[in-house]
């Protein structure tokens, strides 16, 4: 037992090992050290996100408009519900974890195993949910056009509601297809997949649909300057929503189109600022990786519980240590949830 769990009640020899400087065992203290450094890593990421957001405060995507999907509710706008569900799943798996720790204190092997299993399940469901969220984010819904200036323009109707590219763009004859290796030279790679529509098709269809307008990345602030702006469509612009241009200005913007963007990757995304997608992938990805490793570690400890390792040790402190890590992952999610979805 002495090899893995330090109980440290010996006061006779200060330097002989087994000391507990802050009243915590060696393993637990090291877990706290790790958590502090990992907390600072995540703080660095979120602070960098804050930096970019404050820097582009006038054209940062609005989360409510990006994350609107819910399983089995196709076409229904459900902002926030899904991510709220994910948050509940993670909080609940934190609860089962702390119940496992509690059962460990009372030396109830079966209960520890049961609660550990629930925690692992919760973690897996969370990671799965995140994969689904990523899928929707990558696939996109409406599609947009990136202009020569590098900004994203989106299409809306007379009521200011978003319009999908698929709803108005028609194919022109003689379009190109993606070049694959079997039609090219032996040293070539397959070409990256090309968007469903070309810029020329979008431009032609936009000309034909005179009811369509353009929404830019810029956020309308309802200041005197904004109200006097002749380029904006009167009656459609709302405070803290994106600016909607008049038909004449929209046509100028569309004529400037350089690429059709559907969904998101690390270089382009249809939601707006490019950094938004980068930070989304990076921060939720890093958190998801933490959840995944948490599940793996929990599973190892779960096996040990079932095998009776800690029962033989008469000490369930290992469960407590992985519990600390698991709660930390939950703690990080609480912040990611706030800064990505709410604020």
């Amino acid at each position: 037992m002495g090899a893995t769990v330090t109980t440290g009640n010996n006061t006779e020899n200060t330097w002989g090992g087994g000391n507990e400087p802050m009243g915590a065992s060696y393993g637990k203290l090291m877990m706290w050290f790790f958590i502090v450094s990992d907390a600072l890593t995540f703080s660095g990421f979120l602070a960098a996100y804050g930096f970019s957001r404050f820097k582009f405060i006038d054209n940062w995507p609005i989360a409510d408009e990006v994350f609107t999907h819910f399983p089995f509710l196709h076409g229904v706008e459900a902002p926030m519900y899904y991510v709220a569900l994910m948050t509940f799943i993670l909080i609940f798996s934190s609860v089962t974890m702390v119940l496992a720790v509690d059962a460990g204190h009372n030396m109830k092997q079966k209960k520890v195993a049961f609660y550990m299993l629930l925690t692992i399940l919760g973690g897996l469901i969370f990671v799965g949910s995140q994969a689904w969220e990523w899928k929707n984010f990558i696939k996109g819904e409406f599609g947009a056009v990136e202009t020569k200036g590098g900004s994203i323009i989106q299409f809306v109707n007379k009521e200011g509601e978003r319009v999908k590219l698929a709803d108005f763009v028609e194919h022109l004859p003689g379009q190109r297809e993606a070049l694959t290796r079997d039609k090219g030279k032996w040293f070539m790679k397959d070409e990256e997949s090309i968007p469903t529509y070309t810029v020329a098709e979008v431009q032609a269809s936009f000309k034909a649909h005179t009811e369509l307008l353009i929404r830019t990345e810029k956020i309308y602030r309802d200041t005197a300057e904004d109200r006097a702006n002749k380029k904006l469509e009167p009656g459609l612009n709302q405070n803290k929503k994106r600016e909607i241009l008049t038909r004449a200005e929209s046509e100028i913007m569309v004529a400037n189109g350089a690429a059709v963007v559907e969904g998101a990757n690390l270089k382009h995304n249809e939601y707006g600022s490019k950094l938004f997608a980068d930070f989304f992938f990076f921060i939720t990805g890093f958190h998801g990786f933490h959840v995944f490793s948490g599940v793996v570690i929990n599973f190892i400890i779960f096996l040990n519980v079932v095998l009776g390792t800690y029962e033989k040790r008469r000490n369930y402190e290992m469960v407590e240590k992985v519990g600390l890590y698991w709660h930390f992952v939950d703690l990080v999610w609480v912040f990611v949830f706030t800064f990505f979805y709410l604020v």
Binding site: A24, A47, I57, A84, V95, T147, N256, T338
Partner: protein, 118 residues
């Protein structure tokens, strides 16, 4: 001796904290969906009141996760403060520098002749 002090089962408190975290999350989501304009349209320190509410509720949740779930309340105060004070100080410091700088860069972009929205 495997137990330095006798542990009592505190499942009741765990469920209480779970209820509390759930209620706070529900309130956050509710506010996030309706976005009441008296909070959303009024600013304090160049951030709207709704965001301040979100951040305060988040810190409230974080306190309960660390104190109850990670059992910080049962640790010695030396451990408690070496963890909490370090993180709080460094995070505030980092945020102060980055956000102030970002706001400055924003002003520079805004007041210059750089054109991006075309």
């Amino acid at each position: 001796m495997s137990h330095a002090h006798e542990h009592v089962s505190n499942t009741k408190r765990i469920w209480m904290v779970f209820a509390l975290l759930s209620v706070v999350t529900t309130v956050e989501v509710y506010l996030g969906i309706i976005r009441p304009s008296f909070l959303f349209m009024n600013n304090f320190l160049s951030m709207n009141l709704l965001n301040w509410v979100f951040i305060l509720l988040t810190l409230y949740k974080a306190y309960y996760i660390v104190w109850a779930f990670m059992h910080m309340e049962g640790e010695k105060s030396s451990l408690r403060w070496s963890v909490v004070a370090t993180v709080i100080f460094l995070v505030l410091y980092l945020l102060f520098i980055l956000l102030v700088e970002a706001d400055y860069v924003f002003e520079v972009f805004k007041n210059s002749t750089i054109k991006w929205n075309f």
